[in-house]
Every structure is written in C-alpha cells, then in structure tokens.
C-alpha cells in the first residue's frame, strides 16, 4: 500500500493494520507529516505542527505493540484545536495575547487521548478564542476549504475540519460553543459531533462561553467519531459541570444496525425556512427520504422559539466571554505590553492582544451584564433559554431525534461575510440552539452543491449520543458521501 493512500483511510480501517503490524505508527505518522508539509502551505490548517512529539509518540506506540501491548488509539495521528490545552505544546487560541503560551497541563480530553495511545500531530487553526464561523478571525491566518481554496472551511474549528477532510489528520478535537464543530464539519464534508453539555470534560478547554462550550470530535466517518468520543467522554473530577454517567461503547453500539425501523425523526419546520440555500434543502430532504426508506418515520415538529436562538446566544455567549477573557491581563502569562502604570499596562496589553471580533464580543457581553441592563439582556436571555429548552423537550417527547440542515448554506467565500458580523452570526442559525439547550448533535455529509459539501444535522436528547450515532451510521451505510475526498492533491515534483 502506497503512503499516498494512507491518509484516505479511516481510523477504524487503519487500526487493524497497525495491530497486525502491517503498518507501523511511525510510517503512518510520517505519511501524515509529509502530507502536512506538502499541503498546509495552501490550506493553513495548523498553527503548530509537533513533528518531533508526534514521531516520538509513534515510536513509543510501535514499541508498545512490539511488547504485545495495545491501546484503543495506539499510533493514531490526531490534531487538536488550538483552544485546547496541551502540556508543553503552545496553545495560542488563535490570539496574539496567547501567541507564546505554553500550558504546563493537558486538557482532560487530551490526557485521555494520550492515555489511549494517540499521536499528536499539532494544533489547528481557529477563530480567535473560538469566536467566529470561518477561521477568518484567527490572529494568524485563514484556513482554506479543501473543496475550494477560495472558500472558508467554517469555524471556529475550521483548522481541525479542513485538516481531517484533506487528510492532514485522521481525526481531530474541536470545540463547539454555538456550532463550531458541526458547522465546519458540514462545510468540509466530514462528521462532527457536539456531545451533550457535560459529557466531555471542559478542563483545559480555554473558555469562551462556559455554559455552552463542549469539546467535540471531527472525523471522516461516523464510526471514527464513535471511537474517539468513547475515549474522551466521561466524568472528570476537575470539571464540576461534567456528567457522572457511564460511557457506552459507542462503536459497538453501531454494530447492532437494526436499520431505522421504528425510529421517529422529527423535522422542525422552523429549520426549513426562506433564506436556506435551495441546494442545501434539496440535499437534506433527500437524506430524510433515505432514512424514511430505511424504516424511519418522519414527523413534522415545531420548535417555536427558534427565531430567538441567535439573539439569546449572542447575549449569553458574549456575557460569559467578557468575564472569561478578563484573565488575559498580561500579569501572569501571555502577551504583556508595558504602559506607564498598571492600568495602562492592562489597557495596552488587551488593546494590542485581542482582535476586533473578540473586542466586539467583550464589549457586547460587558454591556449585557452591566447594572441597569442585566435584567433586560442577560436575565431575559436566560429565561428565553429555558423556553427554548422546553421546545426541545416537548419535541423530543414525540420523536427520537430531530433532523435539519447543519447550515443554511454551503461554504462561503473568504472575505464574503467578514465586514458583516450579523451575516456571519446567522451562519450559525441552525446550530446555536443545541448549545443553549445543552443537548447533543452530529453533522454528517449528505450531498453536494456545486462541488461543495452539505451537512445533515441530527439533534438528540441529553446523553443521546449513542442513538444519534446509530442513526447517523445507519444513514451512512446507505450512502457514500462520507467516502468523497476533496480534489486537493499533493503537488509532487518529478511525478
């Protein structure tokens, strides 16, 4: 098998090769590192590539195997979104203010991946502090969509999504505060899971909106997502909001494919509205038909408060962010720009360290929490959030999961929405509600419009990951969208 094809394989396909020692972790890791050096000049998916760390881990993985040891992800090269802390590896959050920040600790999710034997290829690009939907708000560069280099990969986990889609990582961690895993997964034609709030520890995930943030996985197919999720999920004593519930073997649960007979899929009418791109709606409708043919029953449901999702989200997420980002003051770590006195040092550090979008959100959030405005904005948003959750609870009493497009459109052009924050915010219109209600969701490829991928979103109840993955897997078994690879190729000199 030539190395050129290795990066097309899924994790579950590669694991048996590693286990039977038909392939070494070092060979696999090298293939990925070579692919990164060949393609990342065009794609800009990685902020930091940790080639040495990766090869070390790969060598260790091979040694372990030589000693007859095994681990669930032994030798699998993965990428980590750069808002997730990695011990001894720079974690920039796509920001100048943390450009040289080296955490002395691993995020719990990262520690679990290491424990499972994974190889860390590097840290992927993100909108600054995960605030954005395109990676255009990264302080360093914009990641290109591997299906069309003039387009955005989505965001904020755009680096992770593009890397996985283009074969620059076998899978990746992202973070999802309002759609930041699912939206780029959709725009890059891969699978992205936003677990239930509390399913995966947030310890070491640099906070954006603490009541919304959740680490998720980005993979090329559903089975790989199940595999990775099982490793990172579970209670963590370091995160008081993490759920103390057993973690199912998601991958094994997939194997009992009972088709979709008896499964009730809710189709929320508020998610099929004017403004959605026709090609996207067509693709999603077709996907619904496929599921119906596989035995599922489609039921139209209503989530009446959907229109308030974006305003609620941008009040709560910004309020929390304004507080979460207060710690970047130049006193203990990160950028410090000296001023004449302490206060000037604070002001200048933050003025030069943060980008425009981050400042915009800090100001919005500060305003929403201010005396005299708190009740009208933050508190009201929290009350509306409860109504939104009740929408979901009611709907999920009638059906097992909800299905809708992940995004209203396919990947947009780089620069297209940069000067119109509201348009940018609206690209998350189908994803933000799920974070506000704390439930789980998945985006999976379901078609193309003009060569650009379309994502189908399934949303399920708290801790409904297992069911969600099973339904997604059943759909995937009946389609081949997940097998499509972007037309990007290594520019080989001399053939």
């Amino acid at each position: 098998m030539g190395t050129t094809e290795l990066y097309h394989l899924s994790i579950h396909a590669v694991l048996p090769l590693l286990q039977r020692r038909m392939l070494s972790a070092v060979e696999l890791t090298r293939a990925y590192l070579e692919r990164i050096s060949a393609l990342d000049g065009q794609l800009h998916t990685y902020i930091t590539v940790t080639a040495e760390v990766a090869l070390d881990q790969a060598r260790q993985a091979d040694e372990c195997r030589a000693h007859g040891e095994d681990a669930p992800l032994l030798g699998i090269p993965l990428a980590i979104k750069d808002v997730i802390c990695t011990r001894g590896i720079k974690t920039t959050c796509g920001s100048r203010i943390l450009e040289n920040f080296m955490p002395p600790y691993d995020a719990t999710a990262v520690a679990r991946l290491r424990q499972a034997g994974a190889v860390l290829l590097g840290k992927t690009n993100t909108d600054e502090f995960a605030m954005g939907s395109s990676t255009e708000h990264s302080a360093f560069f914009t990641t290109a969509n591997p299906w069309d280099l003039t387009r955005v990969p989505g965001g904020s986990s755009g680096g992770s999504a593009a890397a996985v889609a283009a074969g620059l990582a076998m899978g990746a961690l992202g973070s999802d505060t309002g759609g930041s895993v699912r939206q780029p997964a959709a725009l890059c034609g891969i699978v992205g899971v936003k677990p239930t709030y509390g399913r995966v520890s947030r310890y070491g995930l640099v906070a954006h909106g603490s009541s919304l943030d959740q680490i998720g996985v980005l993979t090329r197919d559903v089975r790989d997502a199940a595999l990775l999720l099982r490793i990172i999920a579970g209670h963590d004593p370091l995160d008081a909001t993490s759920l103390d519930a057993p973690v199912p073997d998601y991958e094994r649960e997939l194997q009992r494919d009972e088709g979709l007979r008896g499964v009730k899929i809710g189709v929320p009418k508020e998610y099929f509205i004017a403004g959605i791109e026709p090609g996207v709606e067509t693709a999603v409708r077709k996907a619904l038909n496929v599921m119906e043919e596989a035995g599922a029953t489609l039921v139209e449901v209503s989530l009446p408060h959907t229109q308030y999702g974006i305003p609620i989200y941008y009040l709560i997420a910004t309020a929390e962010a304004s507080s979460n980002l207060a710690r970047y003051d130049g006193v203990r770590y990160g950028l410090r720009v000296e001023g004449e006195d302490m206060w000037q040092t604070f002001f200048r550090t933050r003025a030069l360290g943060f980008g425009r979008e981050v400042k915009r959100r800090i100001m919005l959030g500060t305003y929403a929490l201010s005396a005299g405005y708190y009740d009208a904005y933050y508190l009201k948003a929290q009350k509306a959030r409860t109504l939104l959750r009740q929408d979901f609870e009611r709907a999920l009493q009638q059906v097992d999961v909800l299905a809708c497009p992940t995004t209203p459109g396919v990947a947009f052009r780089i620069g297209q929405k940069l000067d119109d924050p509201l348009q940018m915010y609206l690209s998350d219109v189908f994803t933000v509600s799920l974070n506000l209600v704390g439930m789980c969701g998945i985006s999976l490829p379901c078609g193309f419009v003009d060569g650009l991928p379309v994502g189908l979103q399934l949303m399920g109840p708290p801790l409904g990951e297992s069911m969600l993955l099973r339904i997604a897997y059943a759909y995937q078994q009946r389609t081949d969208w997940h097998l499509r690879r972007p037309p990007i190729s290594v520019q080989v000199s001399g053939g």
Binding site: C85, P103, A240
Partner: protein, 484 residues
C-alpha cells in the same frame, strides 16, 4: 440649640473570615499559606490559567454551614456562586467567585454582652467566596503574591444593629471566639485571617431615618475596630454639630496616627457585573446533612459558660475566664473528670485560672503546647487536697511539671517535698521548738495569740515547709496545754 441635639451612631459590620481548610476553595493547593514564600502555594487553577476550572471545597461549605448554624441562620439548601468582575493584578481570573443573590446562610442573629446588657445583633447573611492575592509594594514597583488567591473566605454581614464602639468590639471578639470554637478559622486579625469593615452613620436621637453612611476599612486589630469607630463617631458628631453635611465616603484607619482618612478611591462607582458562575452548578445541600452538621456542632461559649456555672458551681467570672478558649475549657474539664470525686471542680478552676494561666502567660505557651497532662494536674491538686503537699510545695512541683511534663508523685519524691504528717516525728520537733523559744511560749501564755503563729512558723521552717500545718498547730496546743 443645635448643641442640644444628641446623635445615635448606627453601625453594621462586614467581617471576612479565612477558613482553615486543608485545601483552597476551588483547587487542591494547601490553604495554610501564611508566611510562605511568595507564589509557592499556587497551581494552574488558582493562577487563573486558561482552561482551568473551579471545583467547590466541601470542607469550606461545611465550615460555613457550621458558622451559619452557630449564628442562628437559615441554611439555604440551594445556593449559587456568582462572578464578581473587576480588574486588579491580585485577582488572577479577573473575577472573584463569590455568592451574590443566593448565599449559603441568611437571617441569623448573635447576642453579645456589653456594659449595657445583652444585645442581639442581626446577621443578614453568611456567604462563601475565594480570597484574592496580595500586592507587595517595593519602591516604584508592585509585586504580586498569589499564595492567598483562592483561600476560602467567609463573609459575615450584620444588620446595622449596633450603636457603640463597645458593641461592635464585643461582636467581633465574640465572632472570633465562635469561629475558633467551631475550629473553622484561627480568627487572627493580625494575620489577616479575620478582616473587618465598618459601616457607620449618625442620626439625631429619636430619628428613624438613617444618616449618610461612611465605610471604614483597613482595620487590622480588634483595638482598631473599637478606636476607629470611636474616632469616627466623634468626627461625625463634630461635623454635624457644626452643621456640616456628611459625605458618603470610604475611610481608612491610620493605626499609628489613630485617625481615619478618606481613601483614594481608584475604584469609584464599581459595576461588578455579577452573574451566576457557569463553571459551578448551584450548590445543593440535603436537609438531612444540614441537620447532621447541626447535631455535631460543638458547645458554644455562652452555653458552655452557663453549664460550668450550673454543673461545677463556678462563679460567672471563673466560668467566663475558663471558656474564653475552647481548648482551655476542654483541658479544664479533662482535669475535673480525672480529679472527681475527690477534688471539687472549684479547686481545679482555681488552679487552671491561677497558676496554670500565669505560666501560660509568662512563658507564652499556647494550650496545645502545654506539657502537663490533665490527669497529672488532677493528681497534683488531689495531693494538696489530701494534705500530702502544702501550697508552696505544690507550686514548686507544678513548676517542674510545666517544664518536664512528668508525673507529680515522681517529682515530689525526687524533691523530697512530701508533707510530714508523722505525729511522733512532728511531736519531737514541736518539743524542741518550744524549748528553744521560751519567750514566745511566755507571750502565748500571757494571751498573745500571734505567738502561736510564730511557733508554727518555726516548726515549718525546721521542716522546710513540709510539716502538715494543721497537725503542727494541734501538737503545739497539746504540748502548751500539757505544760499548763
């Protein structure tokens, strides 16, 4: 006419108490940070590093509930932590995790004794938060020490129910006594383990309306609390009598000059933008657990004092002195338990509040470092009670016990201090003394009673104080009588 107006001070207190938990409020760092080299008791969580999260310290919650119960508060089974947002270099996260709308304990009271009698002071709330770090100013520079950042801090807010410096002083000292009794804090104001802010206003006597509030900060001792309030009452009275309006201001107490001064208020009109801490779910307590904590509360000072009076027949004064410190009170009771029934508790009280306290004071020994075991002290007191030792000898033995922690019997033997109660031995001695002091014998016979004291003294002297004085007196009277 203005001069005839009298003003009533209205005083409320905010008291911060550092809890002596094993670890900090939200991380695993040790909390006994006092005196440690700067920035050695820190971890990613209390340094506010990116991505770290707080986890509530159960011991701190228990300590706060204990305090709330001791202050007769309602314990809220649902309380919420909130973020108090402001920038300062000693505040690593840019916000302090505190409690705001839904504190752990509400609506309590505490009674204090003043010269004017027992006063009840309302407690608005007791809540839990984290301490900040400290700035150390060196020349032009300010250095940041974050050891203290994240140490559990309990805030007790009283109602404005106090009306004099004495009352406020009584309240803070009683609060200290209670937190020490509960074992939740050292209560050392000098070490910053207890900090106090005073809210004070004056109003014309008889008026129900509150005057303009002045806040006094930087009170580093109990004396400061009393003196600053007294000073501020005087200052405001003078202003009011001169017809000057009081302006709402924060004053700092200058301990050396003994005056309050307006503090530079760099943080005017703060908007803390409180909101519920999303990293911590609401704190839910089970009522059964709260009840268990209530059952396990130690006996508190006033109750203990009343019991000492009733159970041991002590005077109010003795009981007050003995219950001042819970460990001392416990020690006293241990001695009583070992000494009874042969020795009366009053005798033990005399020993503990007398010789024992004197030695503690003179040697600066805290109770937990005292080497004398309660049962040893009990037996020493018994030796006096049964006339084996006289007072002088007993004090000598006590001194050795204090230094060595050894048993009284051993010391008595070694120092050859046992009381001589041997009748024949003493009778011979008495005969000799009478023979040698004919003059005194004569004046006794002439009816001079003091002569007998002198003769007893001579016998005591001859035995280096070891003779049983009662027996000596009896023998003297016998022999003097026989001769008659």
């Amino acid at each position: 006419m203005k001069a005839d107006l009298r003003y009533d001070p209205v005083i409320g207190l905010e008291v911060h108490v550092e809890l002596n938990t094993t670890s900090k409020m939200f991380c695993a760092c040790r909390a006994d940070v006092f005196g440690a080299p700067p920035n050695t008791y820190v971890c990613p969580v209390c340094l506010g590093m990116p991505g770290t999260l707080p986890v509530i310290n159960a011991q701190a919650v228990r300590f706060t509930v204990m305090t709330g119960l001791a202050l007769h508060c309602q314990i809220q089974t649902h309380s919420v932590f909130a973020r108090k947002n402001y920038f300062y270099p000693d505040l690593p996260k840019g916000y302090q995790i505190s409690q705001y709308e839904l504190p752990l304990c509400t609506d309590g009271w505490l009674e204090v004794e003043t010269s004017a009698g027992v006063r009840r002071v309302g407690i608005v709330r007791v809540h839990l938060e984290e301490d900040t770090g400290k700035l150390i100013h060196v020349g032009e520079h300010s250095l940041v020490d974050l050891n203290r950042a994240g140490v559990p801090l309990m805030e007790i807010v009283t109602r404005p129910d106090m009306h004099s410096a004495e009352e406020a002083y009584a309240l803070v000292t009683h609060l200290r006594q209670i937190v020490r009794y509960l074992g939740v804090s050292s209560g050392d104001m000098e070490k910053g383990a207890m900090r106090c802010e005073v809210n004070l206003s004056l109003r014309p006597q008889g008026s129900q309306e509150l005057g303009t509030k002045v806040e006094i900060k930087n009170l580093n001792s109990f004396r400061s609390v009393r003196n600053a309030i007294a000073y501020e009452i005087e200052r405001q009275t003078r202003l009011l009598e001169a017809g000057t309006q009081i302006t709402q201001v924060t004053m700092g107490w200058d301990e050396t000059a003994e005056v309050t001064r307006p503090q530079r208020s760099k943080e005017e009109a703060h908007d803390y933008r409180y909101f519920p801490e999303p990293d911590l779910p609401p704190l839910a307590l089970e009522s059964a657990w709260v009840e268990r904590v209530r059952q396990e509360l130690p006996e508190l000072p006033y109750a203990k004092r009343a019991r000492f009076v009733a159970e041991y027949g002590l005077s109010e004064y003795d009981a007050t002195v003995l219950v001042e410190d819970r460990a001392v009170a416990d020690y006293f009771e241990d001695v009583v338990r070992c000494a009874q029934p042969s020795v009366h508790a009053k005798l033990v009280a005399n020993w503990v509040s007398g010789e024992f306290f004197r030695m503690m004071r003179e040697t600066g020994t805290p109770i937990h470092e005292v080497r004398i075991r309660p049962d040893d002290l009990a037996r020493l007191i018994a030796l006096v009670a049964n006339n084996t030792l006289n007072q002088t000898a007993a004090k000598q033995v006590f001194g050795v016990m204090w230094q060595t922690g050894r048993a009284p019997e051993v010391i008595v033997q070694e120092l050859d201090l046992g009381q001589i109660s041997d009748r024949e031995q003493l009778a011979a001695l008495v005969t000799r003394v009478l023979a040698e002091n004919a003059e005194a014998v004569a004046s006794f016979r002439a009816g001079k009673a003091t002569a007998l004291r002198f003769l007893i003294g001579q016998v005591m002297k001859a035995t280096r104080g070891r003779a049983n004085p009662q027996l000596v007196e009896m023998l003297l009277r016998e022999q003097l009588g026989e001769e008659q």
